[in-house]
Point group: C2
Chain length 387, copies 2
Amino acid sequence: MPVVGMAGGGQLARMTQQAAIALGVRLRVLAGSPDESAAQVVADVRVGDDRAQADLNAFAKGCDVVTFDHEHVPGDHIRELEDAGVPCRPGAAALAHAQDKLVMRERLSGLGAPCPAYAHVPAAAPLAFLEAFAREHGWPLVLKATRGGYDGKGVWVAEGLDRATAELVGRLVAEGVDLMVEEHVPFRRELAALVARSPYGQGAAYPIVETVQEGGICVEVISPAPGLSADLAAEAQSLALRIADELGVVGLLAVELFETSGGLLVNELAMRPHNSGHWTIEGARTSQFEQHLRAVLDLPLGSTEPTAPYTVMANVLGGDDPDVYPRYIHVMAHDPGVKVHFYGKGVRPGRKIGHVTALGSDLAEVRERARHAAAYLRWGPAMGEGR
Amino acid sequence: MPVVGMAGGGQLARMTQQAAIALGVRLRVLAGSPDESAAQVVADVRVGDDRAQADLNAFAKGCDVVTFDHEHVPGDHIRELEDAGVPCRPGAAALAHAQDKLVMRERLSGLGAPCPAYAHVPAAAPLAFLEAFAREHGWPLVLKATRGGYDGKGVWVAEGLDRATAELVGRLVAEGVDLMVEEHVPFRRELAALVARSPYGQGAAYPIVETVQEGGICVEVISPAPGLSADLAAEAQSLALRIADELGVVGLLAVELFETSGGLLVNELAMRPHNSGHWTIEGARTSQFEQHLRAVLDLPLGSTEPTAPYTVMANVLGGDDPDVYPRYIHVMAHDPGVKVHFYGKGVRPGRKIGHVTALGSDLAEVRERARHAAAYLRWGPAMGEGR
């Protein structure tokens, strides 16, 4: 049986282990410590730094394929693995588009994929540049670090050419953060298109979902996106499959989208199992984690057929009380059908520590079930007392 | 988060790990070697002998609850753990009924549960005893070792008072095998009732399934049992829930049943996740593995609602070719909806090395899909060439 190495020991690697167990595939993870989410549940853990070449090289030895739990492994390191003959999926060339937002925008624009207006912000006279950009696209503007952001980190909204913006930009430039600017898109809602692509070239698309964000963090995913027209859903799936193909993605590709009055715009790309696909564990015939393994192993892809009319995933964010387990009793007694997923991570306020999934045919009821479970797990018994 | 210790490193512990990962529960296994099925996929593996008190004691230290992947841990050892304050679920008193077929028959008969006629076979003059038993119940008779059997091992059919029977009985008595005899039940088919019970006393019953055996090994499970009347299904569920309650089972109880023209008869009991429940991974809202964890942790039990009109599980038995993985390509390309489960076990002819699951609304089609996948994984590409 093949050995799949996953660099990174977070919850995506942890949930990939569930799929690897079924397939009989050996999962090896490179984790920063033996306490990390995936390291708790995998037999073959290598502790090391997934941003260090030597650790990556040692980790990759004996792996049939190497893949990633996040985007932070430097492209140069991945290229060195590839040059040494290690199949990396996705490869460095594809992954660059998920690692650098400017590279992604330039490539997608070149492909004619619909994107917000954007520009690279020069480190010299950045405010004058922003003022000129705003003359064309209006305030507010969205500032992004080209590299290193996730979960709303590395993204800022600048309301105008005011003191706050001047201070923010000044600080970021002083810190050496490479910045880009985008128009602030007045979107109706956010959608996500999740597809898989294998080296053979097979593609598979999941139903288009709606993602609900709060404070830059995804709190809820609804599958399928309610009320989305069949045309727009097909357009989003085709767009994601085309991007996967053009960029040579192997594995999963999540395309975060804005739905606007003028159509769809691409927001971000991720090339790995994605928060917007956690619903597939129960809600699709093939979970995104199994699909990712099948894709990177060049196995035929699995059915993406939904298992219920609606599936809703709600993220569980850490609250004030670190002791979540006693709250299982209420959540499970209240709703025997809700599925609880915990990541084995330390509880910090606002940190994603797990998720819950509900499914059924009445969307309002399914959303309420998922929200109740997630909120209760976050806040605990005191939530009803005004906390 | 609690630590659940599971004695035994087989595929049941392996699949329990998938459920433990979701619940955030720590699974520790006591495995005979680091190569065993579950030991390959669990971070916290203790290598030792689960039939040795010292190894069990060391293993149990730090576990919040101890449970079992099989029935072969001696009852005395479990009682010693219980006396030391370790919660064992199921406990020794309940587990005795899954460890000793005579104890089970006596207790179930005492409860008025329908059983085949049975008797303990004395080691002195066993053939005369069998002859007398046969005068009342007719030949053939079923001989069973009271302890230690599984998967058809420890069960023999005696056709008459002939040389074969005399030799078999003589050999078994000489080996010190404690024997019982049962009437040979002319059953229509075999069914299984899977239920869970928590220390709190909550019970949950899965749909009644049909199990198809070949050579004493279960090869196929169909959920729900086709054409079973609602009355008989409810009777089977009630019977299993009552047995779980009367015997004080905590965790899962599988009741293997004969469906006869005169009604249901209990064949065997198992108190753990069971082959007849593997279909629940995809086919029920709560898998039997999650349910077992919830029960032994005294959490509220999960919904047993089916996810499809029909789910069929087919066991994958080892064939002549030990290299199964290359056959994934055909199976997955042929049917993107079939789910493959491999146990990481060495391939030996006839050994259970995995299973496949298909589900849908057309039973004949679903059975054919599961059978095709299992047969192909067993025999490989040459199967169509008359092997």
